[in-house]
């Protein structure tokens, strides 16, 4: 078994409405913010040989509007 952390982000240029909402919130609290982008984090514990990239491109992310990175993490961290 191996564990992975998948970070999914909106592609540059694609409207990131949640990021904008968070930016406005920080702004309302008086913080100076240049840019906020908001994505998602998914942690997976998978059997050996599992195809994380395929899971991302078919389901976890929408390749039209999102990019993703996959990082291996320790099994303990995923539990």
């Amino acid at each position: 078994m191996r564990s992975f952390r998948v970070v999914i982000m909106p592609k540059p240029g694609v409207l990131d409405a949640p990021g904008q909402a968070v930016e406005r919130g920080l702004d309302a609290l008086g913080y100076r913010v240049e840019q906020v982008r908001m994505g998602k984090v998914i942690e997976l514990v998978l059997p050996d040989g599992a195809d994380v990239q395929e899971m991302c491109s078919r389901f976890l992310a929408n390749p039209l509007v999102e990019t993703w990175t996959v990082e291996e993490i320790s099994l303990e961290a995923a539990r």
Partner: protein, 232 residues
């Protein structure tokens, strides 16, 4: 002729669609559960609006993996009219049966109000008999309805006449003010590679009785009924 309406957990316009088809249009309707694996005997299908599976991951993404979906692909492939309304539209894009995707509204607000769309093509079963340029009043109710596809895909859709509805004002003018969600080119509805699969964000089932302020939505269903009768 029998219509199917698919009920996903979290669908909330399912019964409205059944009501319009059954009680307003006098059609035979089967309620299809998302775990059903067969659509035998179904001639036309509606994927209704709502928040299937809580809209987790992305709107429509989980529903696109539902047990019923292989059968949906099958009847779509054999040419049956398939209409995705709102969340149903999102499900069809996630399933790859319709191009593009629906993003969070540019306003960041859930938009729920009367709207107008201009019919852009009569080459689908849901618009056959309508006149391109005709304006239909149908309400919108969504938080994630901004239609998006990369520029080259939009150009290809436009060139192929696969843009079915566009947001407009009451007089049919496509303007930024008439666009409730930031959809590219004001696109409110598109067709698949084969035109029998159509998705749109506005709700024809909420505009099918005079009591509700508009009967324009009924015409979308009536077109498909006429198309099916004509095909027999």
């Amino acid at each position: 002729m029998t219509w199917g309406v698919v009920f996903f957990p979290g669908s909330n316009c399912d019964r409205d669609c059944v009501h319009v088809l059954r009680s307003v249009l006098g059609q035979r309707v089967e309620e299809v559960w998302h775990e059903d694996r067969s659509l035998d005997g179904i001639d036309a299908l509606v994927l209704p609006g709502g928040f299937s599976y809580g809209d987790y991951l992305r709107s429509g993404a989980i529903a696109a993996t539902a047990p019923v979906m292989p059968a949906v692909r099958e009847i779509a492939a054999r040419g049956a009219p398939v209409l995705g309304i709102c969340n149903g539209f999102q499900i069809l894009t996630e399933a790859g049966l319709l191009p593009g995707t629906l993003l969070r509204n540019a306003s960041l607000q859930f938009r729920c109000h009367p709207a107008w769309v201009r019919v852009e093509t009569d080459q689908t079963p849901f618009t056959a008999g309508l006149r391109p340029g005709e304006v239909l009043a149908m309400p919108v109710a969504h938080g994630e309805g901004a239609y998006f596809a990369p520029g080259d895909q939009i150009a290809a859709l436009e060139a192929a006449g696969r843009v079915v509805f566009r947001y407009c004002d009451a007089r049919g003018r496509v303007t930024p003010a008439a666009n409730p969600n930031g959809s590219v080119a004001g696109i409110a509805g598109v067709a698949g590679i084969a035109p029998n699969v159509v998705g749109l964000m506005p709700h024809p089932e909420r505009a099918s009785e005079a009591l509700l302020g508009s009967t324009d939505g009924r015409r979308v269903f009536e077109c498909a009924v006429a198309a099916l009768v004509g095909a027999r």
